[in-house]
């Protein structure tokens, strides 16, 4: 890896000032269908502080509210109670100022726009002029190593390439914060590992804070400085595990004993979250009781 950035291990040195918190989540609660029979307590009393430059993963079984938390930080939905501050502003103001970029599980590229034009979309909406947009799109294509594909249509690209374009689009307007909801979730295992390495390189180069939703333990451990473990019904944070595998992560990191140690740590935290319930009867030859919706691979 040729990352020259200082993005991970120095978070302690830059975080001495409380103003450097990129995201502050304060006693946040989210209730869907309040007062009706199908009421869902998606999140209850979430407290979280994310330092600038941090790479933080949210992991937990299905229904723990990790995607809801991401959407609340993005101000795509309004919380029932509590507060989110992004760069010291309200989440809504941060959205209006486009202080963050976002990438989803589906790349969500527009079929009718070329790859280059897709990357330019947020810049168009921000009112950048054409020359500036084109220049930035070229830089981003270079960053995600797709310079030869600017004129292609998105559907002519492989899933992994489409996801890289979506990340380029999310980072195009230099947002200080990147929110990602399982961006590797729809990819094959080998593509996914390659994509994770790319993601580390890209995020280091862009020097952005990242909040990353995933249901894969190795992915969370490989990518993050911190892994936030969440439990369902109601959605809460149960553990925050420091990882810090260092800046020089590569394919060998995946064979490293420290990597396995952290995986075990996260897995055990998840087991405590949702062990086999008393009413859950497991069939023979069933996979060992682990939390639902979590990938161990």
């Amino acid at each position: 890896m040729t990352t020259s950035s200082t993005h991970s291990s120095n978070s302690s040195s830059t975080s001495s000032l409380s103003t450097s918190a990129a995201v502050i989540v304060d006693r946040l609660s989210m209730v869907f269908n309040a007062g009706r029979p199908n009421q869902v307590d998606a999140l209850t009393d979430i407290e979280l502080s994310i330092q600038a430059g941090d790479f933080l993963s949210l992991i937990g079984p299905s229904g723990c509210g990790k995607s809801t938390l991401l959407r609340l930080i993005a101000n795509l939905i309004e919380p029932t109670a509590g507060n989110v501050l992004v760069n010291g502003k309200s989440a809504k103001q941060a959205r209006l100022d486009q202080d963050y970029g976002m990438a989803f599980q589906q790349s969500g590229l527009f079929d009718w726009r070329t790859v280059r034009k897709n990357i330019e979309l947020p810049l168009e909406l921000k009112g950048w002029n054409k020359a500036k947009r084109q220049q930035r799109a070229e830089e981003m294509l270079d960053l995600v190593q797709l310079s030869d594909f600017g004129a292609h249509m998105p559907w002519q690209l492989s899933g992994g390439m489409q996801q890289r374009v979506a990340i380029a689009r999310a980072l195009a307007s230099h947002p200080p914060l990147l929110l990602m909801d399982e961006p590797c979730g729809a990819l094959h295992e080998t593509t996914r590992e390659h994509m994770q390495a790319e993601l580390l390189r890209i995020c280091a180069a862009a020097q952005t804070t990242v909040v990353f939703v995933t249901h894969s333990i190795p992915e969370a451990v490989y990518l993050s400085n911190r892994v936030v473990v969440m439990s369902p019904r109601p959605g809460r944070i149960t553990d925050i595990i420091d990882v810090h595998l260092g800046d020089e992560r590569d394919e060998d990191t995946r064979e490293d004993s420290r990597f396995y140690g952290k995986i075990t740590e996260v897995r055990e935290a998840l087991r405590r979250v949702e062990g086999p319930g008393p009413d859950e009867v497991l069939p023979e030859n069933a996979t060992p009781p682990g939390p639902r919706g979590i990938e161990d691979r």
Binding site: L76, R95, M102, F104, F110, T114, L121, P122, E124, L125
Partner: protein, 283 residues
């Protein structure tokens, strides 16, 4: 590409010949004065007056419209059809603009959609043939040429399929894309122009195809009752001479049919332009 076009053209000719053969077959064996089934006159007459020979129709194309003139009737029909085509095109354009605008307003305000949709549907059951002279007479108050009123009746039929297809198309943008535009704090207008409208185009194409034929029908029917001299009016006047010249009316029918085909081809061309760069649908 070219061989496919040739095959299609060949198929078209074969189909046409098959229809002609069926026509002649019935004419050869069908009862001259028709027939009854359980007291209902259901079996058509095969007489020369009711069913002229196909080759007579073909030959009629090269005879003059009225005895004593030089120009063959196909030239006259071509002129009428071209006039009708232009009126139908204007109708399609007006109907398209109105239909899309209506769909945008309805998708923006659900209250308007609920309030207006019944009227939009009711508008399509109004007997156009009765309405046409009223509209033309009504138009006498303004200083507009009569053909514009005929076009507007084409538009009246064309706007409906376009409005319905566009309304459906505007809601077809995926939730994730809408969320993305939300995350950019994009305005309603930007979301419409950059996302919802482009996403609606694949649904709009079938509506446009229906609208194109609807516009032709609207114009032809309105010509008959307003006396604007297009191919619809020609088929009416030729039909009145069916006793003495039964093949003549079919020349106008050929004209109207080719007009519909040309219009459809025009829309297919638009589709090819609008849908280039889109993923091919897996049939």
């Amino acid at each position: 590409m070219i061989t496919r076009g040739l095959r299609r053209a060949a198929l078209f000719v074969v189909a046409l010949l098959c229809v002609a053969a069926l026509w002649e077959l019935y004419k050869a064996f069908g009862p001259e004065e028709g027939g009854e089934i359980f007291g209902w006159r259901l079996i058509p007459r095969a007489s020369d007056r009711a069913m002229p020979h196909t080759w007579e129709m073909w030959q009629r194309l090269f005879d003059p419209e009225v005895r004593g003139r030089d120009t063959p009737i196909w030239r006259a029909i071509l002129g009428y059809s071209w006039y009708t085509f232009r009126m139908a095109l204007v109708g399609l354009l007006l109907g398209g603009i109105f239909g899309v605008a209506l769909a945008v307003v309805m998708s923006r305000f659900k209250v308007i959609e609920r309030g207006l949709l019944p009227y939009v549907i009711a508008s399509q059951t109004i007997p156009l043939i009765a309405l046409a002279p009223q509209v033309a007479a009504f138009g006498g108050n303004w200083d507009l040429p009569k053909w514009m009123w005929v076009s507007s009746l084409g538009a009246f039929l064309a706007f409906f399929p376009i409005a319905v297809a566009t309304l459906r198309g505007l809601s077809s943008a995926p939730a994730a894309s809408l969320e993305l535009m939300d995350s950019y704090a994009a305005s309603w207008w930007s979301t419409l122009v950059k996302l919802k409208f482009p996403a609606a185009i694949p649904s709009m194409v079938p509506g446009l195809k229906l609208a194109a034929t609807a516009s032709v029908i609207g114009v032809i029917v309105s010509e008959i009752s307003t006396g604007v001299r297009g191919v619809g009016f020609a088929s009416l006047t030729y039909g009145q001479k069916a006793t003495s010249d039964p093949a003549q009316v079919y020349t106008a029918v050929f004209g109207a049919a080719s007009l519909g085909l040309v219009m459809f081809g025009f829309i297919v061309g638009i589709e090819a332009i609008a849908m280039r760069n889109r993923p091919r649908e897996v049939a």
